[in-house]
């Protein structure tokens, strides 16, 4: 048995600071089950009034892109400035854009 076989599974923690905003990833923790993961997320990540809602997700349930595919997946966007909506002339009435 390897050393990690005895460890509790890893969970990713997402905290929403207030209603209307999105849940943001803020870290991870080890916990035995969903209930414990939620309680620990509350205790570890919302001590300074950061939260109004918490999500936890088993880390092994997250499907992630392969870092080795980074060039293929993301570099092609580098020279496509026209995808940014910065080439339009905005009417004066539209502020703060």
């Amino acid at each position: 048995m390897n050393a990690t076989a005895n460890e509790w599974p890893l969970w990713e923690v997402f905290v929403r600071t207030k209603a209307g905003l999105d849940h943001k990833h803020c870290g991870s923790l080890h916990a035995a089950d969903p209930k414990m993961a939620l309680q620990m997320a509350r205790d570890v990540y919302t001590r300074r009034q950061e939260g109004s809602s918490v999500w936890v997700v088993r880390s092994d349930q997250i499907v992630a892109s392969d870092p080795g595919d980074k060039d293929m997946l993301f570099d092609p966007a580098d020279d496509k400035v026209y995808r940014h909506p910065t080439f339009y002339k905005l009417p004066d009435a539209v502020d703060h854009m």
Partner: protein
């Protein structure tokens, strides 16, 4: 060395000290887990709860101090009394023991405090009622946290089950004291300040029974032993925890940072 302060015989002050000292001493005990809990997340959880309790103690001790003719502040009450003038139930001062003992004591005392805060919402003292409003939320979380852990330990391995049973045998005899009423209780109830202790017994037993039933644990029978911390007569452990708590204020009177 700063001389010890003395406490008036006013039952209202004594009633408040019994509550405030429970929070203060239990908070100090939980704080001992800082850096020693089985996992880092639990380390943070236990010290969070310790700080909740110390916050509650500050509120209640400040209120008690205002009622003393000497107008003591929270620090004087927390750090400058002699052992006999601390009025927490003995259960709060017992050594933290292993994790099972800590969890069981937290369940016993957070359930008791939760029931108390619920009733103190209707206190005739507006400030006490406001403290109860804030503390009740904290106590509800403490109770749930402790109940969940007790469940895990009671339902866990042979070893964790054995430790829960040992903790129960050790701590249960100290529960009786929580529900003994005397003249201090009677005065508080008559003035509408707060409930008499005996009124909490039935609801406490029924909430404890609900947790125990899921674990197939039976509540031990109550023997003749009665602890007496709420009357100021403490166990041999009290002197040591007060030495820890008071050392700095006694060595550097009025020291602050």
């Amino acid at each position: 060395m700063k001389a010890s302060i003395s406490i008036p015989a006013d039952p209202k002050v004594q009633y408040l000290l019994r509550i405030g000292d429970t929070c203060l001493i239990l908070g100090q005990r939980l704080g001992e887990w800082c850096g020693h809990a089985p996992i880092i997340e639990e380390d943070i959880a236990l010290t969070n709860m310790a700080l909740d309790l110390i916050g509650q103690a500050r509120g209640v001790l400040t209120l008690a101090g205002n009622l003393c003719p000497q107008d003591y502040d929270e620090d004087q009450l927390a750090f400058l009394r002699d052992e006999r003038d601390y009025l927490n139930p003995t259960l709060a001062e017992l050594p933290r023991g292993d994790f099972a003992a800590t969890v069981l004591r937290n369940l016993m005392l957070s359930t008791w405090l939760k029931l108390l805060w619920e009733r103190l919402l209707d206190s005739s003292d507006a400030e006490l009622s406001a403290i109860a409003g804030k503390a009740l939320k904290e106590a509800r979380y403490h109770q749930q946290h402790a109940a969940d852990w007790l469940q895990r330990l009671g339902d866990g391995t042979e070893e964790s089950r054995r430790r829960v049973e040992a903790a129960l045998a050790m701590l249960w005899p100290y529960a009786a004291e929580l529900f003994e009423s005397d003249a201090v209780d009677a005065a508080a109830a008559a003035a509408g300040l707060g409930p008499s202790s005996d009124g909490l017994r039935e609801p406490w037993l029924s909430e404890m029974a609900a947790v125990f039933a899921e674990l197939h644990l039976s509540m031990p029978a109550q023997g003749p032993f009665r602890s007496s911390g709420r009357r100021g007569v403490h166990s041999e452990h009290m002197g040591y925890i007060l030495a820890d708590l008071q050392y700095l204020q006694r060595a550097f009177p009025g020291g602050a940072w």
